[in-house]
């Protein structure tokens, strides 16, 4: 059997150990603790979790999960819209991880348990295929500018009239501004998503670095990519000269993919909106332009969200501390909801929805988010 360490170039355990050592040395040489950096990508989150990298980071380095998981930051009213449509008898197609995200009155998974027609799809094109039968299908679309391009592509390819999109697509650059501007924010640098930068180009972050004097390093998703990206980020922090650095040059250029950008902006425009547990983010949401109104579920259906609210529990969201936790200025124990009203089974904020959300990790690890002490005795 092939082992992941032995076969795949970016999963060399020995090189991983060398990078881990280098990271520890760079952080130590900063001479202060903690050093807080933020990643803003669900795939970074997943890779950090999957490869157990948190147990390999030096204790002085806090790698905070930012608002980078599009599923986690999908706001309650957006989930409610999808649930309401499903309850109204409309067939809803969505990505697998959207299924369990809770709204005011449960999730799409709950709705499916009550008999609603919910399809899990792997991409926008598959949702279009479902609609080709003539039955109306609403694609509940989530994801950042990367995934939004795929949604844009199907809308530009003359989809059937039975197809429509309920967009929960979001745009990352504005929320980085929000986090950077949070009062008392301890974030010293950002690890940016390699795949999103493949489309936007790393140049998109130049203005941010200029405005906020915080470094941004674009990194890939293999464990070595992430470790190397963090080493680079700490080096740039140490240099005192904030800049954008591309640690994923095998995929990312300064300009990105102009064709994909053109498709994205032909179909979508920016609009302000709330991100779950974080803030209202000006220009943070992607909505369909007027010329695509015919495929916009919000304009095609009378979505009766209020009908869900009759028996709904009181909104806990107002007490959620996700924003402060992400800014590195609060810990889950500062939140009255943590572990009681907000658990992985019934999450309130994005930090508890996401696999690598700070609250989820704290909850899962019994408040001690540290497996460093567990050693395998050979």
């Amino acid at each position: 059997m092939a082992s992941p360490g032995g076969r795949l170039e970016f999963r060399d355990v020995a090189r991983g150990a060398a990078l881990t050592e280098a990271l520890a040395a760079r952080v130590t040489s900063l001479g202060r603790a903690p050093v807080s950096v933020m990643h803003v990508c669900g795939s970074h989150e997943q890779a950090i979790a999957k490869f157990g990298l948190r147990a390999a980071f030096p204790p002085e380095l806090r790698v905070i999960m930012g608002p980078g998981c599009p599923v986690c930051v999908t706001d309650v009213p957006e989930v409610d819209e999808a649930v309401a449509l499903a309850r109204q008898g409309v067939r809803v197609a969505t990505y697998g991880d959207m299924l369990r995200v809770p709204g005011t009155a449960g999730s799409l998974a709950d709705e499916r348990g009550r008999g609603a027609r919910i399809d899990v799809v792997y991409g926008a094109a598959q949702a279009v295929e479902l609609a080709r039968g003539g039955e109306p299908v609403v694609f509940f679309a989530s994801g950042f500018e990367t995934t939004a391009v795929a949604t844009a592509a199907v809308l530009l390819a003359d989809p059937p009239a039975s197809f429509s999109v309920l967009s929960a697509h979001k745009y990352i650059p504005p929320v980085m501004e929000i986090v950077a501007e949070m009062p008392g924010s301890a974030i010293e640098g950002f690890l940016a998503a390699g795949h999103a930068a493949t489309i936007t180009g790393w140049g998109v972050f130049e203005r941010f670095v200029e405005r906020h004097r915080l470094p941004v390093v674009v990194a890939g998703f293999e464990p070595l990519d992430i470790l190397a990206g963090l080493v680079r980020l700490v080096e740039v922090i140490a240099s005192g000269e904030p800049r954008v650095d591309n640690a994923f040059p095998r995929c990312v250029t300064r300009e990105g993919n102009p064709a994909a950008q053109a498709a994205l902006w032909r179909v979508f425009e920016l609009q302000g909106g709330r991100w779950r547990g974080i803030a209202h983010v000006p220009n943070g949401n992607l909505r369909l332009r007027d010329e695509f109104a015919a495929w916009d579920a919000r304009r095609r259906y009378a979505i009766d969200v209020a009908a869900l609210w009759d028996h709904a529990p009181a909104a806990l969201v107002a007490q959620c501390q996700c924003g402060d936790i992400m800014a590195g200025i609060a810990s889950p124990h500062d939140c009255a909801l943590f572990g009681r009203d907000c658990t992985p089974d019934a999450p309130v904020g994005a930090c508890m929805v996401s696999a690598e959300g700070t609250c989820k990790i704290w909850h899962q690890y019994g408040g001690h988010p540290d497996l460093r002490e567990i050693r395998r005795r050979a």
Partner: protein, 344 residues
């Protein structure tokens, strides 16, 4: 502040996924009132089967209901699954000589006779492989739409002079898997066309009693815990074994045998092969001094060629399953509900 529901008001797919939700359902609804079996293993133990003391031996009993869609899949069908599932549950209790099975069939009106014949031919073949037979059964037919084609329930009985539970682990013990994990679950997903690509994956469904017999002969009393990692995959089996034994299991991820196709499909879909169902694999907990001997015995059997030591038990953090990835460590999650591919 509103009170959160602690109990689900409706049964959902997660209750059948073999993880924490299913265990909670058994504890809260099915098990109460059915106490322990003196000198044996009863429902409250939530093991693979029951063990009833008879003289100086035990009668092991297990029952398993089988539904699968599609009913014919690469490497097997619902008939083979129904025989192997029950034979394997008996074997996981240490009972590797199944005396006999029963089989109840519930059919949907309109079910084709030729398919039924095909399924029963497969049942006969699987029984022959396992060295057992069907001795009684039951047939029910439901109206169209009241059942998805066919459901089979098999019960098995066997005598054993030593019961192996799933709770015998202590710190220092080694954990062995008998072969590649994730084959069955991903083969089924692929057959359903849910992978959005084609694979050559084949289910591993097979009767394990012969394989386990060899392991028990080699390891003797040093084989202290067994479980078949069916629904919920290796993860659920390890969580149950760790929780019931009061140890943590540290898994060396790179030692877990996984086929290249399964690994690749898992990477593409964001599905961890450790959470995917198997129907022809066993997890064995053994004392360290017999571990190599047991692995050798397993590898000598055609179904155990890829057997490997994949983990070790420790005293810290009892009940948890920790994965050493080579880069770092993580807690292994459990499957809840169906496996959902991720967007991000």
């Amino acid at each position: 502040m509103t009170e959160r529901r602690l109990v689900d008001e409706r049964i959902s797919l997660k209750h059948g996924a073999g993880g924490g939700a299913m265990r909670a359902l058994i504890e809260q609804i099915f098990a109460p009132g059915f106490g322990e079996v003196a000198g044996g293993v009863g429902l409250s133990a939530m093991d693979d089967g029951a063990a009833l003391p008879i003289g100086d031996r035990w009668l092991v009993v297990t029952t398993d209901a089988h539904v699968v869609q599609p009913i014919f899949f690469p490497g097997g069908d619902i008939g083979r699954l129904a025989v192997c599932g029950t034979v394997n549950d008996l074997a996981m209790m240490g009972a590797t000589e199944p005396l006999a099975l029963t089989c109840a069939a519930i059919l949907e009106d309109g079910f084709p006779r030729c398919e039924l014949e095909r399924i029963w031919a497969s049942i006969r073949a699987a029984c022959a492989e396992a060295g057992t037979t069907i001795v009684t059964g039951d047939t029910k037919v439901m109206r169209r739409g009241e059942l998805d084609r066919i459901a089979l329930t098999t019960t098995g009985v066997a005598l054993t002079s030593r019961v192996v539970t799933d709770r015998g682990l202590r710190p220092g013990d080694r954990v062995i898997v008998t072969g590649t994990v994730g084959d069955h679950g991903l083969a089924i997903l692929a057959t359903r066309g849910e992978l959005a690509f084609d694979t050559t994956l084949v289910s591993d469904v097979a009767p394990l009693n012969g394989l386990v017999r060899g392991a028990l002969a080699a390891g003797g009393a040093g084989v202290v815990a067994m479980k078949d990692p069916t629904r919920g995959g290796l993860s659920s089996a390890l969580h149950e074994m760790a929780g019931k034994s009061g140890v943590a299991i540290v898994v060396d991820e790179r030692a877990v045998p996984v086929r290249d196709e399964v690994r690749a499909a898992g990477e593409l879909l964001g599905i961890d092969p450790l959470l995917v169902a198997n129907e022809g694999k066993a997890v064995l907990g053994v004392r360290a001094d017999v571990a190599d001997r047991v692995v050798d015995a397993l590898r000598a059997h055609p179904l155990g060629r890829a057997a490997a030591i994949v983990g070790e038990c420790i005293a810290e953090r009892p009940g948890s399953v920790i994965v050493d990835t080579g880069f770092g460590r993580r807690l292994l999650g459990e499957a809840e509900g169906e496996l959902l591919p991720r967007i991000c």
